[in-house]
Amino acid sequence: MTDHLLIESGGPQTGPACERFVGDAVRLAGDGHRVVLFLVENGVTAALPGAAPGIETFLRDGGEVWVDTFSAAQRALPAADLAADVRMVEMDDVAAKLLEPQVRAVWH
């Protein structure tokens, strides 16, 4: 089992690339890996309910969805408007996760 930090910066409006990246997160979580999907920049819009259906499957399979507080605020997206099980985080939380030795990270 490997820990993964997957960082999505584009969001659903960029086309199928976001959906496929979330799909990677779903498959990794489904295989039993510990996965954090961090949404940043326009990627935070994937946390809106129904915007990226794979997110719900990912959460159900034990994945964690982190949403960048700064990016959400820039886009006037309060936490109350986002899916219920996501976690609002600061960049410091991401740095801490990235520096964990066992974590593999991808920026998309």
Binding site: I7, S9, E41, N42, S71, Q74, A95, L98, L99, V103
Partner: protein, 135 residues
């Protein structure tokens, strides 16, 4: 003689167009957060991102005509200050080919221009690498 590449915890590769998205903001926020945690960080810029540290930028952006009294720092000044604040833990590299190709060969002295053929050595010197802005 080849210049040594310091070992770092994280390499951030800025490959995407820097002003098309929030790429630069995100990279600088992440780099700052990593440095605040005591990490060693190197940043490698390719393509148009090499212009972020062009000497031609000077210290400030052009004046905002709606707010003439305010001065906004250029990215070159932001990078220079960040490097000055973390002299032994932050390194900024600029792809020589990309910079030359874009008329940005004249860089601020605090950054290092490197041949693209050395890129793999920089990846090897980092525990982790993120490629930002291209996919």
């Amino acid at each position: 003689m080849a210049r040594p590449i310091p070992a770092t915890d994280v390499l951030l590769n800025l490959f995407g167009a820097p002003h098309q998205s929030d790429l630069v903001t995100s990279a600088l926020r992440l780099a700052t957060a990593l440095l605040d945690r005591g990490a060693r960080v190197q940043i490698w810029t390719c393509g148009d991102a090499t212009g972020l540290t062009s000497a031609a930028l000077g210290d400030t952006k052009p004046r905002d005509l709606t707010d003439l009294e305010r001065r906004h720092p250029s990215t070159a000044l932001i990078v220079r200050d960040l490097l000055a604040d973390h002299p032994d833990r932050l390194y900024w590299y600029v792809c020589r080919f990309c910079a030359d190709d874009r008329g940005a060969a004249d860089q601020i002295p605090q950054v290092s221009k490197r041949s693209p053929f050395l890129f793999a050595e920089h990846v090897k010197a980092a525990d982790k690498a993120l490629v930002m802005g291209v996919c």
